[in-house]
Symmetry: C2
Subunit: 436 residues, 2 copies
């Protein structure tokens, strides 16, 4: 392996600040091109798949959905809640009111079933600039949520495919959806750097759904080497990769990682994005970028008969929001806001209960997983927290085989809580868990 | 058969105006309880199925989708366009802005996957008062369009059903959707009073999709006798009736006809309604009323994992719109507006080209069908009209077997055109068709 020059040496050699070099190195590490070895320096990673055993200690867990009456919830670590206090309500209202005018006649009738063309142009520009995604507006399909769009995709693939590989654990809303469409779901286990590609080959499925930028829920980034392996798999198997880039805007150690789609020269990737995390979930706007191979069936097989599901007023408002630069500004602002919340959460956990917890999946997104080493099971942790007025969430439903879930792990979403609530919420968690 | 008293006699007997009696009799005729016999009076119809041969003269037609460049469209008789000039934009904007406030915190996060409870309460009240539909808010599922909701229903039924009966002709968007979900669609032919129930029995399917209040596209009302027959079929076959009440607000001869669901004592009807026709299609709001038998699987089989597809802001705005009486007022206003347009269309057609055309399906809704007796085929009629700057639409795609469609028929939607445009559009149609 090639060793990189030290930060000091490269900064001096290029006449730039150490800070700049440090940021660049951080990014290379985050994206998996470079590896840090303690007391040895940074090394370029050879582009081969290295097998690393799965991190989870597997144990039987007794999970039961909690339906009983609970004390008042003071701190809800619900994943999916966002920080609405920083949403630019007045700008959005102003743009929305520009659309709600009698003269905007075309907005009062059915729109393009694929989504408004002008909004697709804006999404294209954003995806190219921020995510490296290469596509034309013609490839973009707008819809009311990622699940809805994956439903269209499931129907598009239905004639040729009947099974799909999914990360285990993975997003249960998508797994259930594919099962409802009659797909057989193959759970593919995770390694420390994401999907076990060997298992994917063995599953004999030709479609895989992944979250490479920030695995849901474990949070790892799929490194460059594995991305190339995955693209090679798709090429060899005549396969399809469904890349769900659900919260890629929020990476706190360095810059966002380019999409897998941007590396795909052979058009075997369907790329999915959403405005639910960075903007607002209640607007219900997401999009899907179809590769040319799927675009033809989408345009011929009666899919034009499916009416668009997103409000045409919201589409137009979002187009104006993006075109006038508010979207990029909002991402920058929210990245900053969530980075502070993320730090507050990690620091408080470390200070208050660092001696009996392990944080999993930090550094990005709007949630972490917490492994709690106090002998409590998942459901015990959740119930104990509820008794102190804190809601934390089960991780086991994300497993197709919940009995293989980690025994003592919970999910904490921090997007919807204020800094103070995060700090106080963690203290309350500690009160509920320390006695065990 | 029992004969009804004459209008004059009943008015005199009850001391009410003749006009009132006439309206009541009209309503009884429209709903199929009473039959008018020329020069004999009105007779109560016996509640038995009477077979009436289908009206259509079946002939081979050469339909080709038109993709070529056309002259400027001056008059677009597109079905689905609505009269936006009477939409109360300023009221809607005011209510919408009440929702778009920083303090409306709950509207900024994911909502109830079934739809906002308060909106479901308003829909319940409306359905009970206007359509006779008996249900609780708990039975209502809100979604971004009837197709989307039928998709949920298709998945709910998938484990037990694999085929569905549909009116022939019928709504192609629904037919295609069920086919994409792997259902076998049985086309059931129409009689003068709607679905041929004998054929439905013979098809051996246990699910049927119908438009009883205003058959799409032919426009007939299913009379009371046949509704009872259909409910009996469902009871005997352990079947399910899907009632799409897409434009029931607009009946111009008397009052709207109560929903089939309101007659169903055995909970075998799924009722569907939409805000696309009477309010605005671009808001994308529809709803489905599930019978208790389907409610249980909906609540248990992971369907709660499907995020709601309608904007939470639009749901809240619509709730306020309904709660404050604007919805009922808007329906009254639009019924009046569309009744005038409907009359203008029929009168102009009668005056200008009554001698070589027959109107099919008048008296309700936002479209009519026009049978043109000038020797032109469907595609010739459409192309000739386009050369005069008028868009009229094909009826044959509504047929599962397009070769059985009527040879010389087109669809004219009048919702989106002004009175003047309707009159001028019909004159332009006459110019394009008269030479044949």
């Amino acid at each position: 392996m090639t060793r990189l020059p030290s930060i000091r040496a490269l900064a001096s050699h290029l006449h730039i600040s150490r800070n700049t070099v440090e940021q660049a190195y951080h990014q290379l590490i985050a994206e998996g091109y470079v590896q840090s070895r303690p007391r040895s320096g940074l090394f370029v990673i050879a582009l081969e798949l290295e097998k690393i055993p799965a991190p989870s200690t597997v144990r039987q867990t007794s999970f039961e959905p909690s339906k009983q009456v609970k004390p008042l919830v003071q701190y809800d670590f619900r994943y999916g809640n966002v920080d609405a206090s920083h949403f630019p309500v007045s700008i959005w209202r102003k743009l929305s009111n520009q659309c709600l005018q009698p003269e905007q006649v075309e907005l009062f009738s059915y729109g393009d079933s694929q989504g408004e063309y002008e909004l697709r142009v804006e999404i294209c520009k954003y995806l190219y600039g921020s995510r490296g995604v290469n596509c034309s507006p013609n490839q973009i399909v707008i819809g009311a949520g990622v699940q809805y769009l994956l439903g269209i995709l499931a129907r598009l693939m239905r004639s040729s495919q009947s099974s799909i590989g999914m990360e285990e654990p993975g997003y249960d809303g998508v797994r259930t959806m594919f099962q409802h469409y009659g797909f057989h779901v193959h759970p593919i286990s995770l390694e420390q750097d994401g999907l076990n590609i060997h298992e994917l080959y063995e599953s004999n499925t030709k479609v895989v759904y992944i979250t490479p930028s920030h695995q849901f829920p474990y949070g790892m980034v799929m490194p460059f080497a594995k991305r190339i392996q995955l693209l090679k798999w798709a090429e060899e198997q005549d396969g399809l990769i469904i890349e769900d880039d659900y919260d890629s805007e929020f990476r706190y150690d360095g810059k966002p990682i380019p999409a897998l789609q941007s590396l795909d020269a052979h058009h075997r990737t369907v790329y999915l994005g959403t405005f639910s995390k960075c903007l607002l979930p209640s607007l219900r706007i997401a999009y899907m970028v179809l590769p040319p191979t799927l675009l033809a069936p989408y345009h011929t097989q009666d899919y034009r008969l499916y009416d668009q599901t997103v409000s045409r007023f919201h589409q137009k408002t979002l187009e104006l929001f993006m075109r006038n630069g508010h979207w990029e500004a909002h991402i920058r602002k929210m990245r900053n806001v969530y980075q502070k919340k993320h730090s507050a959460l990690l620091e408080t956990i470390q200070a208050v209960m660092g001696h009996y917890t392990t944080v999993v999946g930090q550094g990005a997104g709007l949630h972490i997983l917490l492994r709690v080493h106090n002998g409590m099971s998942e459901s015990e942790l959740i119930h104990a927290a509820a008794n102190e007025g804190v809601k934390v969430y089960a991780v086991s439903p994300f497993w197709a085989r919940p009995d293989q879930a980690e025994a003592s792990m919970v999910q904490l979403g921090f997007g919807g809580l204020s800094m103070d609530e995060i700090v106080m919420g963690v203290h309350a968690l500690h009160r509920s868990w320390r006695h065990s």
